[in-house]
Subunit: 246 residues, 2 copies
């Protein structure tokens, strides 16, 4: 870790800490090269959003908790960045929901799969919780996608009714929606295809979202009709305001 | 290169090609881990800027050419991302100006220095041009900076009157301005400290800027008083417009 990331009083402390987590994950072989670039894109949007959870993102997160709690077969989809940055919180949420998580990576190699599984197993042991981790042995395919990107498990993503997909690729997000699932997206770019395609989009930084989601699980939030366009418009307006504020 | 980056008709072709150049550079040891994250931040801002050179960025680029051409001791500062993405164009510009380039990296290691020098020497040979490449043996320091980040050469950055610093760190940009140099910044984030500190800031994607700069060198653009705040405000307005356009 460089000097700045060791000093919690530094204004960029949180941001540098997340970078450090990703650098560690990259060294462990958990990430594709594009993962760091994707993280940088997120940093820029978070900067423009003011680096804090907006009121509408918090409401969206509480609605995400309500949807996951009322689901028959909820599942949490995890990619490399999600495991690296919020693997712990995602496993705690899955444990609280009693649902599985599924590793679901865009650039699938056996080495990355093993690195991610090992990292999650380490967290499970540390927390002493028992969450089923799917994805190592895919036995189903998401219709409309080609190649290994379509791989999933029948027990997890394929049969789920509500799916949480933080930081998901646009094509896959669209394919999951087309399967009739209720798709909960977490994406800092409110203009991305994932953000637009999702049924409920939380425009927030992943680790802030993860903490808020865990806090919301078990609470009694009433299910509301989701106006996802309104959630996205709020984020657009926030960016526009911050971009012109000097 | 993945399938998409091999297909020039793909709408993300240019963006994927740049990522591929960076991945290659990372494999050659030219980049710090933060380089890919920084590139991602740039991608997000470029997306919000519309992924094209704005009229004000083009005027700023032409003014950059005029300033470099009228300088007594111009120099071009190169870091890892600049060498990877636009090393060729930067050497062509330096050759046309008859000025040196100086490798000036934030996370300095002998291995990265060697990888960058070798890459630039390869380009020089390929283009059959003779440009002095400084930076391997720093013999001066930028006042106000600590540690290896202050290192520079007397012949290059230290004695320069006009310096082009694409993708520069905010602290270093500020320190160069404090030395009384005319500092030309290239940065996709119009809210960054570098963008704000610079005497002339081109808010444009590096490779588009590099091509435009090379085209402008040798042309007869009159030196104008620079209203850098106005250039930045143009970029802010562009982002605000694109963020709310659906």
């Amino acid at each position: 870790m460089n000097d700045i990331a060791a000093d919690p009083s530094h204004p960029r402390y949180k941001s540098l800490l997340l970078r450090h987590l990703l650098e560690q994950a990259a060294e462990k072989g958990m990430l594709a090269a594009s993962a760091l670039i994707a993280h940088g894109r997120g940093e820029a949007f978070d900067y423009l959003l003011g680096e804090q959870t907006t009121p509408s993102a918090l409401i969206a997160t509480q609605q995400a908790a309500a949807r996951l709690m009322s689901a028959k077969r909820p599942v949490i989809s995890l990619n490399g960045n999600v495991v690296a940055l919020a693997g712990r919180e995602m496993l705690l949420v899955a444990n609280a929901l009693g649902c599985p998580v599924e590793i679901n990576i865009f650039y699938r190699t056996p080495e990355r799969m093993t690195a991610l599984l090992n990292h999650l197993e380490d967290i499970k042991q540390e927390l002493n919780i028992d969450v089923e981790i799917l994805g190592a042995n895919p036995d189903a395919r998401i219709p409309g996608l080609e190649g290994p990107r379509a791989n999933c498990t029948n027990k997890g993503i394929f049969s789920s009714d509500v799916i949480l997909v933080p930081l998901e690729d646009g094509d896959r997000c669209e394919a999951l929606v087309a399967m009739g699932k209720f798709v909960i997206v977490v994406d800092l770019n409110p203009l991305s295809r994932s953000a637009i395609m999702g049924n409920l989009t939380i425009v927030d930084e992943l680790t802030r979202f993860a903490v808020n989601l865990f806090a919301a699980i078990g609470e009694d939030y009433e299910l509301q009709d989701i106006d996802n366009d309104a959630l996205l418009s709020d984020a657009h307006a926030q960016i526009a305001t911050n971009a012109t504020k000097r």
